[in-house]
Symmetry: C2
Subunit: 352 residues, 2 copies
């Protein structure tokens, strides 16, 4: 599988562990740090340890697993460890984990001493096809996802789908939602291929194809002025549901499960507003309902979801902005949706 | 006084309040926020209020005065206020204050929703000639100055030396140290002119000249790979003394007072190592001793100062790196100084 060239950095798909080791050696870093969570230090780190040890001069930083770690307190904890370890400007941070580790490791590194180098070795499907590509770093504050962060590119990304072997099925499904999204917004053929594939463990070829799609979009529009907004499909509503679930009952929804719901709701809006055909809406709804568990919420939370949406960074001037589809494989950005439309879309999901 | 063009942003010196108002109007911001501290909201804000009120749609955020506010807790406080005010990506932050406000306001804005626009209206001499120019933002963690931050340029800087009328004399002296530094590293004629001027209230022309000098350096080397390091003259030792004083007895030293000490010490090192003449060392020492109060510290803290220096971002690989002078008006970067040399330099200051 070919290395993908992103905005001044490579995304490796073959011999990724060796590529990482070679990268660190070439970089002449004064030292490096490996950031893991309690799961990736058990399931992923051992696959690297022997080779890392040949390099010497590194330290491990481990945080708790899960979205609850992606906040300023853990971030301060990592900063303080870097201070204690006397990490200088020529240090490197290696983020070994899912999107929580790559997002918050990226933010921590991009602000430590006004920015040290970092690389990602993403170990969840979601982080491989999405979080590790595109230069968005971030943490949550007050339960608002990614409200604080920077746009900073990693120096390289090392993808090894063998890490997915230990990933729980629910986490596979979480990443899969983004892959399906890439098909829906950009590539109908890819969407069709995905629907027919064995999705319990997506092949490296499918992962590669998603990264090519996402990378193309972020390269054209790094700071999300226009076409990058295509990636927000499913996310205006999905993020709100995810945020609500995070506050109400942590771990009840993964990111992908939330945006699968978001994509059903926003496909409904697309059908209403931007010309998505009824058959396409049905096909999308049926596919997500086949793959993803149903999530129950009641009408009582509609207002709360709406007020969460208003706080979302994608939305301005007190208006809710959605990326919709005009057909499978074709997106349509900057659609203002009214409260009534959004509530109708929730109804559509709940009725399904 | 001519507007200075920096890295994609203007630095105004005339009609600065009107220029700010015009800038906000042109920018079509969804809303804006003015960040002040308890002193600038009394001494500076009233000079703007009438004009700001013609614009509408803004809120004030006030923090405590002083370096103790330049930390992550206050930063979180500002983020949360922006969240509560539902600041979106098209919001603007106006930093009205000294270097504490411009540094931490810049950091807060550069990370809120991955970056919103900000402008500086610096109200101390130090922030006018130094902190507001060059795109460094930052906060202190664990008493280590500016350890966390970003390189992000403001959209504009509005300098009005009339704000200096209410500034305590000690704060004037603090900024003056940076102006004297600009002369020492880059412009012997400017140094001589400064020595002969009335320094109780530096003229707009002198302030302008300092900004031209600093701006030239940061434009050539925005991320401090080489010539920007010239600005570190006096700061390797000065920062250590400032950090020590901050931990030990807050408010006992201003930034400028600390780096004035640093410049005496580092001029001594320059005489020892990089060819600064004995007469020049004497001239520098006498000038600072005439203008600045002596600061007493004992040999007992030398080791502590040294270990603070090792944690400084300017230093790598466990070595202390100083920018020195080869003559008045000529700098020399990347001089490794040993512990013994540094201790000798402290001795030189204390003996003076
Ligand atoms: N930056 C971006 O552009 C972007 C894009 C999408 C999502 N995200 C962010 O990514 C985060 C979600 O990412 P995620 O789903 O990877 O979450 P995660 O990092 O929390 O990983 C999910 C779980 O899998 C565990 N895990 C990771 N790798 C494993 C492995 N190989 N074997 C066994 N267990 C493993 C983790 O410990 C965790 O418990 C969210 O915070 C989201 O906001 C960011
Ligand atoms: N970013 C950079 O490149 C850079 C460069 C130099 C210094 N700095 C930072 O700047 C900070 C020091 O700046 P500072 O000396 O301006 O500190 P400051 O912001 O704390 O201001 C000093 C004092 O003056 C008060 N004040 C401000 N304007 C006033 C006015 N017009 N009238 C009366 N009182 C007023 C403030 O409330 C404060 O009490 C340090 O944190 C330093 O690290 C940054
Ligand atoms: Zn997503
Ligand atoms: Zn300084």
């Amino acid at each position: 599988m070919q290395t993908i060239q992103s905005d001044n950095y490579p995304i490796f798909f073959e011999n990724s562990i060796d590529e990482l080791i070679a990268f660190i050696e070439r970089g002449k870093y004064s030292r490096f740090f490996v950031l893991t969570d309690e799961h990736t230090s058990v399931h992923c780190l051992p696959k690297l340890t022997d080779k890392l040890n040949t390099l010497g001069n590194y330290d491990l930083i481990e945080i708790n697993a899960g979205e609850e770690s992606k906040n300023i307190d853990f971030c301060i904890g990592v900063w303080k460890m870097l201070i204690d370890f006397e990490a200088d400007r020529k240090s490197l941070l290696v983020n070994l984990g899912g999107g929580v580790i790559t997002d918050m490791g990226g933010f921590t590194a991009s602000t430590y001493k006004r920015g040290i180098d970092f690389v990602h070795m993403p170990t969840t499907l979601l982080s491989q096809v999405d979080a590790s590509v595109g230069g968005k770093t971030g943490i949550d504050v007050d339960g608002i996802k990614n409200i604080i962060g920077t746009f900073t590119q990693p120096k390289a990304v090392f993808i090894d789908t063998a890490f997915l072997d230990t990933l729980p099925p629910r986490q596979i499904l979480s990443g899969l939602a983004e892959m399906l999204k890439h098909g829906l917004i950009l590539d109908a053929a890819y969407w069709n291929e995905l629907k027919q594939s064995d999705l319990t463990k997506p092949s490296t070829a499918l992962v590669h194809r998603s990264v090519v799609l996402k990378n193309k979009v972020v390269m054209e529009d790094p700071t999300e002025k226009n076409i990058r907004k295509s990636l927000n499909f499913g996310h205006t509503i999905g993020h709100a549901i995810e945020t609500w679930a995070l506050n109400d009952k942590p771990d009840s929804l993964t990111h992908g499960e939330a945006i699968a719901i978001g994509m059903i709701c926003e496909s409904y809006l697309a059908h209403k507003k931007t010309g998505l055909k009824a058959e396409e809406l049905e096909e999308i709804t049926a596919t997500f309902n086949r793959l993803y568990p149903r999530f129950g919420f009641s009408r009582d939370i509609y207002e709360e979801l709406y007020s969460i949406m208003l706080k979302d960074k994608k939305n301005m001037d007190g208006k809710v902005n959605c990326t919709l589809l005009s057909a499978i494989g074709k997106f349509n950005i900057d659609n203002i949706c009214t409260k009534e439309e959004l509530f109708e879309a929730f109804d559509y999901y709940l009725a399904g």
